[in-house]
């Protein structure tokens, strides 16, 4: 027997009011989730300006589609999925890869490892990963999702997600080792 429960928003959630056109409620939704969406885009492209543009587009798209959002859990899933897919789509439209020369120089010249430098290096290396691997790494380590949750967002079988994650980590380890 299958129990079917209607989806509802959490108590105190601004979602129901936002769905009715309440702009203050929609602003609350943005404030709750802006860091997640912005960071996903930033870690994908390693570019703050671009990340803000993408985040803006995602929330405007949410505004158009609020009626289809059934619950706070669905909202979270929707934002992660749309942001991921938008980043991947933009990657595939990009015809030329911009290389920031100051980053390249600093990576090669680094002798002392510090957290800040390592973080910057990692973000640059992540940007060089194939788009699906980039998405999987971001969802795993920024959003702390496990592969069974990631596979729903990227719409891939769970074993494929695990394979992408494994290859991404192998690639990052190898490249980090090249800079020592």
């Amino acid at each position: 027997m299958t129990a079917i429960a209607p989806e509802t928003a959490d108590a105190g959630s601004p979602l129901p009011q936002a769905r009715l056109g309440d702009h203050d409620a929609f602003a609350q939704i943005i404030e709750r989730h802006e860091a997640m969406v912005y960071s996903m885009a930033y870690h994908f492209f390693n570019d703050r300006g671009r990340a803000e543009e993408i985040a803006q587009d995602v929330f405007l798209q949410l505004y158009r589609n609020l009626g289809a959002i059934e619950s706070d859990a669905h909202l979270l899933f929707w934002l992660r999925q749309v942001t991921t897919r938008r980043c991947i789509d933009l990657t595939r439209r990009a015809r030329l890869k911009a290389v920031r020369l100051e980053d390249v120089g600093e990576l090669r010249a680094a002798e002392k490892r510090s957290d800040a430098l390592l973080d910057r290096r990692l973000r640059a290396l992540i940007e060089e990963l194939p788009d699906i691997q980039r998405a999987v790494v971001t969802l795993r380590y920024q959003e702390d999702l496990d592969p069974s949750e990631i596979c729903r967002i990227v719409d891939l079988p769970v074993n494929t997600v695990k394979s992408h994650l494994h290859r991404a980590l192998q690639s990052l380890r190898r490249r980090l080792g090249e800079h020592r």
Binding site: M1, T2, A3, I4, A5, P6, T8, P16, A18, R19, L20, G21, H23, F26, A27, I30, E31, E34, A35, M36, Y38, S39, Y42, H43, R48, A51, E52, A55, Q56, F59, L60, Q61, Y63, R64, N65, L66, G67, A68, D89, R92, R93, D115, L118, D119, R120, L122, R123, I126, V137, T138, R140, Y141, Q142, D144, D155, L169, L172, R173, L176
Partner: protein, 110 residues
């Protein structure tokens, strides 16, 4: 070096520049979003809508015993999947045609 811990630290969430929510809201209000939220058109229906959904859930629960709902659920899944496939295919086709058009325009402008 623990790569996974390093990745969690490197990929921690950060806030966008101050005023981000306000800027988005301004664009949404000015119509850059393209349309009003679909929910605002259902303002008068929100209470009966939830009642309807609860009633539909009860009906579906009874139908499960006869196997009918299982078929409906499977059909819905197929339909949703087909919808995603249609959108995916059209997205790819559109992207390629647009790229070709862009190249045509670039040639024409030289």
């Amino acid at each position: 070096m623990n790569l996974e811990n390093d990745l969690k630290r490197a990929l921690r969430r950060e806030s966008p520049p101050a005023g981000f929510a306000g800027r988005v809201l301004e664009q949404a209000k000015s119509g850059a979003a393209g349309s009003q939220p679909a929910g605002s058109r259902r303002r008068a229906e929100s209470s009966p809508f939830h009642w309807w959904r609860a009633a539909a859930a009860s009906v579906m629960l009874a139908a499960v015993l006869g196997g009918y709902a299982l078929h409906e659920v499977a059909e819905r899944r197929r339909g949703e999947r087909a919808r995603e496939q249609v959108l995916r295919a059209m997205s790819i086709a559109s992207e390629k045609v647009r790229y070709a058009q862009q190249q045509v325009r670039e040639i024409g402008s030289h």
